[in-house]
Symmetry: C2
Subunit: 286 residues, 2 copies
Amino acid sequence: MKITHECIHCLARQAVEIAEEATSNVSLQEEIIKRSLRELGEMDFNETAPEVAFRMHQHAKNITCINDPYKRLKEQYNEIAKKICNRIIEERWLDRTEEPFDMACRLAIAGNIIDFSAGLNLKPSDIVKSVEDSIKHNIFGTGTTALQEAVKNANKIMYIADNSGEIIFDKFLLERLPIEKVTYVVKGGPIVNDATMDDAISTGIVDLVKVIDNGHSAQGTILRDCSSIFKDEFSKTDLVISKGQANFETLSDIKDKNIFYLLRAKCSPVASAIGCKQMDYVLTNC
Amino acid sequence: MKITHECIHCLARQAVEIAEEATSNVSLQEEIIKRSLRELGEMDFNETAPEVAFRMHQHAKNITCINDPYKRLKEQYNEIAKKICNRIIEERWLDRTEEPFDMACRLAIAGNIIDFSAGLNLKPSDIVKSVEDSIKHNIFGTGTTALQEAVKNANKIMYIADNSGEIIFDKFLLERLPIEKVTYVVKGGPIVNDATMDDAISTGIVDLVKVIDNGHSAQGTILRDCSSIFKDEFSKTDLVISKGQANFETLSDIKDKNIFYLLRAKCSPVASAIGCKQMDYVLTNC
């Protein structure tokens, strides 16, 4: 999905947020903002937004010499997500429903609200609300039954993770997949609050499923920049479960692979590309 | 008032709107957007937002060779404003109130809603609502009595206009000022929907009061770039009535002149600098 005019002010907003999250030094903040805006001014409108954002983030990292400016926020949201998931386990939501696969999909989508690229104003209550809404909200797209059918027919499944915090919600769905066929993919390095191997270890996902990283630290999955190990695994996969907006933005032009996208459509350009309404719960293999 | 971090994404949004308003040619739009973003990336954080925006607009004009991309929209909103003002005249709002000066100030502030820099989504109903709200809304600041007192004590009054459309609402207030002491100021050239001499002529303001232009075509009043005729007039003035946000942003650091600002506080950085809430009706000489 190519960058749209509507992405511009969102990326400019992210330039400011990256700067303010990376350092409290005002002159360094201004340097990051100006360097990011110039980077934005050099973009190619055939690129995806995550490709441009990646280069903006690299400037923040280089200028501050801080590799992971969002570390504090990621840990905070991992803790919040764990608490909500523990409540779901204690209240036995998945045991008490007649359609546990459907419920697991809904929770995986609900967790996708934990996305700092869409703005840093996320409150813990927003996550709780996303989880509670996910149960009653209509799912836009092909729906959970189509995914369950595709899972039955697949020999090799790749589950591409999105954000830290959110990955804890992925566990509900992973537990309902033929786990021996699944490879779970995290980022090769930190970018905003995207999940890395550290998150997969600290949340116990590595004990549940084979986990690899994609060898790159952009948001989404920019195939040409990913490691050969990842690309090899991707080529052998006959079903991809892709979480979140950035993975949709970077993979949606690939048409020779069965890819199911699970996400909250948080911005208008993505909602428009999918054909759904903003903030819809999406499960589709468009 | 210096540019703030919050101004960045607003200016980036304006870069896109300028491009889309200036031309329907997609590659020219992309050139304008990219050139504007690079310009934004070269800014000095000691500048005001209108100074940066001016340079962005110059790129759009140079790339498209169109001097007045907002001409169509300006004419449209002039017509809408005229209709609303005619209704106010027909219904004799100012004759029927006990405080016509206060009412005239409120209408002048209400007209300030016609501001395309704050977004192009303005509907005619927004102007009607701004006018209707102005009558019952609290005025933030020193209030209309303080302005009336300052007018009584002034020998030379400068009334710095803001937008086309809005200037029709200014007539209510101009008619209640000692008109022989007043110089009304429009822009030296087109920028967004700011009022120029053309607007002062077509609305009959030139028949009511002495009108000059400021010799420059940025939003607001960037004193160092204005003509010597304007600067001379400004220096002799002992009371300035300044309309709109951009005039506040560019004049608010001048402390040796009695300046009353009349505006709707449409964005958070301006509201914060004034100390009021966003969308407040402001009349203050802070």
